[in-house]
Assembly symmetry: C2
């Protein structure tokens, strides 16, 4: 389970897309949300767009690995597709905020790797937010006002990537993923391999 | 602090040399030993060759970060050059066994990364040991008899690299090193960088 979090606008979504296209064994966890689709967003690809009653039902049935309110909307990670992907030997990528990361960590039994993406500067963060055509000035201002608090949660993450240049940041995340796959506790069949070499 | 350990003959020394030539910020910790030099070994490069009284003096003065008896000889890691290299911002590579790794971990204050190198098979391990021209059949047999016990300590290491092909193994160790350098707690000045972006 690989989590990428960042203040809104730091480049998390772009990095996630590049990562998914270069890592065949990595699959994206698609969040459920009660917010309306933005222009171009596709059901089941960008999000599962659900109603509030549906969301509340999933919370009550523990069908969400994490859930949170962000601005005026509700978000959550459906449990079933994640557990299925992990059982098939896939790594799963999560695009969630610090609240979601904390809840995922509680559900991950030591198998969560978390990366916090930072912008190279606060001016660059604002520039990136303003270049998003779909957002109004009010939305940009609201996101900028939340950035300091979001960034204060960097200390809860395993790794930090400063996103100065997308290509370099994607390479760094891939390096982290490759190294984490060499961690002893993730190597399947290792004990049997050692035992066979010990001649027992 | 990066530790590579392996059963004798798994390729640790070859991997270490390739790593040092490709990682300019990495410096090798040169062990001290009471064993006599092998043909071609250079004082201060391969080992610091010291007498038993000298060794005992260093143990008594806590001048060794770790020390152990291996076969009939004593080995240890002089503390002063390691602390100097770390203070200068270098990473330090250690070629020690599981006993040394445990002692280094106690002295490392959470800054130790440990990798266990495995041979691809027990037959390949024997073949590699036999191809070392300087070792007698008795030495090969002795090392082979110790291999199962040495391998049983794999579970104390952070990462596992199966050394089927040197080039691939070196790349894997470099990947681990690159990822570990992105760990939050190793990023110097991160707190100040965040604070400056928060406008405090």
């Amino acid at each position: 389970m690989l989590v990428l979090s960042s203040p809104s606008g730091a480049g998390k979504t772009t990095i996630s897309r590049a990562l998914l296209s270069s890592e065949p064994n990595l699959t994206m966890s698609v969040s459920a949300t009660t917010r309306p689709p933005r222009p171009g967003e596709v059901e089941g690809v960008d999000y599962h767009f659900i109603s509030r009653p549906e969301y509340l039902r999933m919370v009550n049935e523990s069908a969400l690995l994490e859930h949170a309110q962000v601005f005026d909307n509700f978000y959550g990670t459906p449990r079933e597709p994640v557990e299925r992907a992990l059982a098939e030997g896939c790594d799963v990528l999560f695009d969630v905020d610090w609240q979601g990361t904390q809840q995922l960590a509680d559900n991950a039994r030591n198998d969560l790797v978390s990366i916090f993406i930072l912008p190279p500067s606060i001016d660059e963060l604002e520039r990136r937010l303003q270049s998003r055509a779909q957002d109004s000035d009010d939305v940009v201002a609201s996101r900028m006002s939340k950035a300091p608090d979001e960034m204060s949660h960097y200390s809860e993450y395993d790794y930090i990537v400063v996103n100065s240049e997308i290509k370099k940041s994607v390479a760094e995340v891939r390096t982290i993923l490759a190294a984490e796959r060499l961690k002893r506790q993730r190597l399947i069949g290792l004990r049997d391999f050692i035992t066979s070499m010990q001649g027992n």
